[in-house]
Amino acid sequence: MGEAGTATMSNTLGAEARLFHSAAGSHLFIVDGSRIYDLLETATSEIERAFAADYDEAAARALLDSLVGGRRPRYIDAASPPLPPIFSLSLNVAQSCNMSCGYCYADRGKFGGSARLMSFSVAAASVDRLIAQSAPGADLVLGFIGGEPLVNRKLVRSITAYAVEAARRAGRQMRFSLTTNATLIEPEDARLFRDHGFYVAVSLDGDQIANDRVRRMHDGSGSYEHVIEGIARLQQGGRARPSFSASNGDAGNGRPASHPRYLVGLGFDSVGFAAVLTSPDPALAFAGSDFAAFRRSMIDCGRKALEALKNRQSYPFSNFETALHEIHRGTHRPYPCGAGAGYLSVNAKGDLYACHRLLDDKNWAMGDVFTGADDARRAQHLARAHVDRMEPCRSCWARYLCGGGCYHEVERRGRIGCDYIRGWLEFCLAAYAELSVARPDYFSVSRRDVDVVKIDPAQAAG
């Protein structure tokens, strides 16, 4: 399978289209609408020429228009979309944690000294607010985060019951998710998760050695064994166990430390990897130079996954499978995620922020659950963050697949991973082309869409 096409995109056509190659042939990716076309050989060389710096730009545009243009309006234009109703809130039920991970964005679980538990009244007001600002009949998601949310398990139980009833009365469907370090799981927690179909995201950094290097208990001892115990308890729910995924921070090494198979062997439904970009200890965060190795190993993992999928075997490498399905659907969006749009995060006091990583950051404050989300701020955010207004995004072919990068990471570190993202996406595009030829039924429409509310494993430090 060919690696990314090496054609240098030097004229502005490169912002609107990209030629790529796979074992199934050559293809054209049209940025607007994320459309993919197969090309015959004759077409390929002509298009390659059209992208070169010395090709007349007007002619190149005419060529592109004749191929895939037309008078249709653009899929994404400069206008930011209307403010969507809110469909998901994450509740920081415990600004406090029983662990002390090296890279934790919450000051290694100490939260700057002011550990706090959310009260029932704030949580209930959050649920009410979510329902009030959601669309009629909507599917809603309530997420429990922290710190470690199970430190406040009493609230998790009581608010789950409250939310189920409130949603029923309001004609909405409520689902739940929880991000946990899995060291505090009791049997009754597992039962709660099973009874309400929780999506449980477990943070684990690989095998015992890799994990315990960074993810430690307060006394400095490793967490791995506790996590394994916790996972076993989670699985005791029987058939209807909650779906859980592992997120693998693996800071600094620049390589997914463990083969996903290993993690899958522990009983996870899906495994995803995310690079840690922000950390109080900079040694634990990626430097720009770490990305090359990371990219190689992600693609390596992806290749293994592709082979397995072609042979109708399961290989739940979530980064890869999510990308495949989104590429198949032609997902295109001018934002990296729903933060500040359909998704907001609530701190222990009840204040709303654009997302869980931006809690307590004044610049990203968006109202509170008692008086309501600040729609003016949300609209401002959408207007500002549109990827066509970002540099260098506006001229990047991958912008509608990437969306511009995590707001939190970009603010702290800038856009240092763009080459990695483009490389990874190019690999996924080619893999998609091959898999859709070799095994089209993998993408057949009866397959349920990838769950868009799956907690992004990129919350590695959560």
Binding site: I36, A43, E46, L67, Y75
Partner: protein, 672 residues
């Protein structure tokens, strides 16, 4: 949408979903895509109404095509004749209707939905067929003009000349369609030809098609037979797995038992053998694994191989249950007599349940409370009985009988019923005390179960009789109406089964409550002094009750498809009666429901006080009497010290005048 790069001879093949969706086949009719779907045309169950838009301009037929535009597909009279008149030397090859020429819709001048007041020029020149359809669909009825012309690359005149001609055309047009005048707009044609005589464009004026003709039926000028069904849903094929509005897919069985008894099979499985799944699917993806389940193309080819599913089990034949004969079926005359009695029973039940409904002290602000739920159930039963009363009478009218307005006083067992009910039940007005509720339950007990050899239901007996003795049901017009009567009887039987359950549920809900708390009155109605307010209300209630019966009588006098208006008026009066019932209830009193005519056994021909003799022409007699009584009563009530009553009286005063005027109209001109 241009695809297939003609310019450089390159071809592209869409791979992912957005690429596929973006690809629109040039020349395809625009209705082949869901984005043009309208209401029930997706494409449509009986027909695709979008096909009507093709004939929006009478005499012309357009095809709306992707990537092409709105192409003139056919030209008919009067345009061919008019063209001949205009250009007598024209040899026909250069005409509007010539097959070689391709004319497209350039402009429409007319009123559109977004600005219905003012006619505008819609510029459709060069637009895609889909966009033209949307504009055409938006046209308001009235005078319109269209300009059809050749494709830009086929025009033989220069742009400059064209512009001038268009200016001229548009000026002429504005002159042709002046301010709205009475009468249809003249159909006029102006042609613009190049120096070689070939037609470049033409201006035509007329009126937008009405789509329906004077009989309210689709106008054949707009749509010939076959047009409307050019596009349709394909329910038993593609749509069975994938319907855009889920209508067909929602009706499809999912999990069935095989003919041999194997449970848990997927109805859409490709391999029809009854092999139970190795392990039950727990995910949708697994259940609908495309390698195991019928695909849409497969559905188109093989839908006929799918078996019937009856009672959740696959079968290859259906044997309807046959009705077991009874020993003493009734002939037509006997059936009619029984139906007449049943009309009286339904009438009595309806009134009885209504009276009981008003006896309940149900609060307005707690709809989920047990008492409110009971009230709702009782009211629903009363409404059902009203419907049965209407249907029985409609059946009698079908059988050339007069409707029956009397009211039975007792409910007795039908002959040979085996005595399910130990005694006759009096159908009297009483509040919903526990004892009376028991009587309700006894009344509604399913005596309509059909048991072999022991028919204990009157309606069931009638139903079986209609089957066994089918003769004699031909009406005056020579129609055999037996089938229609059967349907009505079946419906009544079905609904009756539900009443028993509701009555029992009511008893459960009330068992912990104290009747003194939840009842406003308990026994039969007490007649209040006529001079008192309650007395006036009771009298008003009676008058409304008589008015309902009178309006119903008039409704039954009309042919079935003309009854709607009268029935609507009957409902209005029912609402008024309901208000009176509630007002009285709040004052601890019940409606009297005095039977019109003599109390007790009223004549079965249903004469009403003041109504004309059966053979007299339908006149406003009854309502004339009521027409003065009701306003007088209301005038008195307007002076009430209670704001509630005074306000009610004012509102009803206005409504009553309107109502009586309408009834007076219907009666044929007697001034109220």
């Amino acid at each position: 949408m241009q695809h297939g790069a003609k310019l450089t001879g390159m071809k592209l093949f869409p791979r992912n979903l957005t690429a596929h969706a973006d690809y629109v086949v040039r020349g395809n009719p625009v209705i082949s895509r869901p984005e043009s779907g309208a209401d029930n045309s997706h494409p449509g169950l009986e027909f695709d109404q979008r096909n009507l838009d093709r004939g929006f301009f009478p005499g012309l037929l357009f095809d709306f095509q992707f990537g092409v535009g709105a192409r003139l597909a056919d030209v008919r009279s009067p345009w061919l004749e008019k063209e001949k008149e205009l250009d007598k030397d024209n040899n026909g090859a250069n005409s509007l209707g010539a097959k070689e020429a391709e004319f497209f819709l350039w402009y429409i001048h007319g009123k559109f939905g977004d600005r219905p007041g003012e006619p505008v020029f819609a510029d459709l020149y060069g637009l895609d067929g889909y966009d033209v359809l949307r504009k055409v669909h938006d046209l308001e009825p009235g005078p319109i003009a269209v300009i059809v012309g050749l494709r830009p690359d086929k025009l033989k005149v220069e742009t400059g000349t064209l512009q001038v001609w268009l200016q001229v055309a548009m000026l002429q047009l504005k002159g042709m369609i002046g301010p709205p005048i009475a009468g249809p707009v003249e159909q006029r044609l102006n042609t613009f030809r190049a120096s070689d005589g070939s037609l470049q464009f033409a201006v035509l004026t007329g009126e937008r098609a009405r789509y329906l003709n004077e009989d309210g039926v689709i106008d054949l000028q707009t749509a010939e037979p076959g047009t409307l069904t050019r596009s349709l849903c394909s329910p038993w094929q593609w749509d069975f797995t994938d319907c855009g509005c889920y209508y067909w897919a929602a009706s499809r069985p999912d999990i069935v038992t095989g003919a041999k008894g194997t449970p848990g099979l997927n109805f859409l499985r490709v391999k029809r053998e009854e092999v139970p799944p190795r392990s039950p699917s727990v995910t949708w993806d697994d259940w609908m694994d495309p390698s195991r389940v019928m695909s849409q193309p497969r559905m188109i080819l093989d839908w006929e191989t799918l078996p019937l599913v009856i009672g959740d089990q696959e079968a290859d034949s259906y044997k309807p249950q046959s009705v077991v004969p009874i020993g003493d079926p009734w002939d037509c005359n006997r059936v009619i007599k029984e139906l007449q009695k049943l009309a009286g029973v339904e009438h009595a039940l309806c009134v009885k349940f209504l009276y009981a409904y008003y006896s309940l002290n149900a609060p307005d602000d707690a709809p989920e409370s047990p008492l409110c739920r009971v009230a709702k159930d009782i009211l629903n039963i009363a409404v059902d009985e009203m419907r049965h009363f209407r249907w029985v009478n409609e059946s009698l009218v079908l059988l050339d009988q007069r409707p029956v307005f009397s009211r039975a006083t007792k409910l007795s067992d039908p002959p040979g019923s085996g005595g399910l009910r130990q005694q006759q039940i009096d159908l009297v007005l009483e509040g919903l005390t526990p004892e009376s509720l028991d009587r309700f339950i006894a009344i509604e007990m399913p005596s309509q179960q059909y048991r072999q050899g022991d028919v204990s239901g009157l309606y069931t007996h009638i139903l079986v009789s209609l089957d066994q003795l089918p003769g004699g049901y031909t009406n005056k017009e020579g129609e055999d109406v037996r089938g229609q009567v059967q349907e009505v009887v079946k419906l009544i039987i079905d609904e009756g089964n539900d009443h028993w359950a509701r009555a029992k549920r009511a008893r459960e809900l009330l068992q912990d409550l104290d009747p003194d708390d939840y009842l406003r009155f308990k026994g039969a109605p007490t007649v209040q002094p006529p001079a008192s307010e309650c007395g006036a209300l009771q009298s008003l209630g009676d008058h409304y009750y008589w008015l309902v019966l009178e309006v119903l009588r008039r409704a039954f006098d009309q042919p079935p498809d003309a009854r709607g208006e009268m029935l609507k008026q009957a409902r209005r009066v029912m609402h008024n009666l309901d208000e009176v019932g509630k007002l009285l209830g709040r004052r601890g009193q019940g409606l009297l429901f005095t039977l019109p005519g003599s109390p007790g056994d009223a004549p079965s021909d249903g004469t009403l006080p003041g109504s004309p003799e059966p053979d007299a022409p339908s006149g406003g007699g009854g309502s004339l009497v009521l027409g003065t009584a009701i306003p007088n009563l209301l005038a008195g009530l307007r002076k009430s010290v209670s704001d509630e009553v005074a306000d009610f009286a004012r509102r009803h005063g206005q409504a009553a005048n309107e109502l009586l005027y309408l009834l007076g109209e219907d009666a044929g001109g007697d001034d109220p």
